[in-house]
Amino acid sequence: MSRPSPDESGYPVNAASIRLSNAVFFISLGILAGAYVLLIVGMLVADTYYMTSHTASAAADADADAGWYAGLVRGPLGRALADSKIRYSIWLSLITCTLSAVLSLLVAVPAGYLMSRHRFPGRRLLDAVLDVPIVLPPLVIGLSLLILFQYPPLSYLARQIVYQIPAVVLAQFSVACAFAVRTMKATFDHIDPRCEQVAISLGCSRVQAFGWVVLPEAGRGMMTAFTLAWARSLGEFGPLLIFAGATRMKTEVLSTSVFLEMNVGNIDMAVAVSMIMVVAAMLVLILTRLCGTPA
């Protein structure tokens, strides 16, 4: 005896086939997403395994009395941290990334606000222009910066900037700022313009409404934009190589260090510097997750 159909359309829905379809759907989602997650985790685990196995062999080579601490010091990470060139590169990376993130935020807040709140002629074109650094190959950005500094008025500053430390910041800023602008635009898009309108009706000038009402609401977004710009700057390499060069103890940042160490076949050192960058990037990611997005 067949079960009565819950509706009277005469075309009953097959519950078993829906169950099967749902299961296939979720399993497919899981496999596809899981494969990518495995790739990411696999890379990090491989790096860590490489580091620990090389540190362990260094420890084995060390005197038995000296113990694991000597192994750590003689291991790739210990040698990297002891190297004055790498230490310089760590400090230069921290300082230039922070500077370029601050500059990016300084530009991204007004640019994001303008793009989010105002309609003006050429807005779509400006929107597309702001995306150029995201879509352009990084090497091309470096080369374009180099060419730009061949012509006045920037050519007068070329001696102080090109292949000097300011070039590092400028190259990082050129790319990182585009990401910060996107983040700030999305942040302002999510803030109800009504609050601002109410503030204006209460007697605020535009600046007062922005400062008292909009900016406090954009705090989390600003934090996200800052950390994103910082992380992006840390990973920047192509534009730096062309526009700032890769001179040791001068314009060498962590990504350049990896490149230079690889160039001389020092893979241990390259992986050690990479691990320092992984830790820095992880810290930034955690900070973004904690502060950037509401739970």
Binding site: D192, R194, C195, Q197, V198, A199, I200, S201, L202, G203, C204, S205, Q208, W212, V213, P216, E217, G219
Partner: protein, 215 residues
């Protein structure tokens, strides 16, 4: 009084032509109309948030058509309250006076007076996050009244409230209107609200505003 004369507003394909409206001084005016007919657009043009193509807007015989919204002296309560999430209720009530650089004693006095009037004294230290719908609208109303505006514009402030809170808010609006004599334009699609509150009831249909109450 609030007076709109032959106002035309164009917003993309949406057009309002030759709109006329008048609410006598000190009265509670209610503008009714279907959703999407342009009530809020008219309200925004009075506040100064929307440009008008032609016509004049007068508040108490002063032509405010080209005046900056900040200088018009119009209190505004939007539909969802639009409270400032980072500020306490006290900050909301003090905001307009702080912008006007009033003394801290005057601000304190006004905040207490408003909190008393609206029954929100116990909420002064709270932020909007934990407030109920009715409480949010009371705070929004207090914020709009804080600088003693000549005109108050309410954009469907009761539409998101439950029946009981709505009737309480209606009573509150009536008593505020009686005590402050502020000339009010209340926009709603709810005829009951209009019947209960409106000393001057206006119906907006087919692009024309018709007065339902006798002068």
């Amino acid at each position: 009084m609030i007076s709109i004369e032959n106002v035309c507003i164009h917003a993309g394909k949406f057009r309002l032509e030759n709109i006329c409206l008048s609410i006598p001084s000190g009265q509670f005016g209610v503008l009714m109309g279907r959703t999407g007919c342009g009530k809020t657009t008219i309200l925004e043009s009075i506040i100064g948030l929307r440009r008008i193509q032609s016509g004049r807007i007068r508040l108490f015989d002063q032509d405010v058509t080209d005046m900056n919204p900040a200088a018009r002296g119009v209190g505004y309560v939007p539909q969802d309250g639009a409270l400032f999430s980072g500020m306490t209720v006290r900050d909301h009530l003090a905001f307009a006076l702080m912008i006007r650089r009033a003394g801290s004693r005057q601000i304190q006095q006004r905040v207490d007076e408003l909190a008393d009037l609206l029954g929100i004294s116990h909420l002064l230290k709270r932020t909007p996050a934990g407030l109920s719908g009715g409480e949010r609208q009371r705070v929004a109303l207090g914020r709009a009244l804080s600088f003693r505006p000549r005109v108050l514009c309410l954009d469907e402030p009761l539409s998101a409230l439950d029946a009981e809170t709505r009737s309480q808010m209606c009573e509150l609006l009536k008593s505020v209107s009686r005590k402050t004599h502020v000339t009010t334009l209340h926009v709603t699609h709810n005829p009951e609200e209009a019947e209960l509150l409106g000393e001057c009831r206006l119906q907006f249909a087919d692009g024309k505003i018709e007065c339902l109450t006798k002068a």
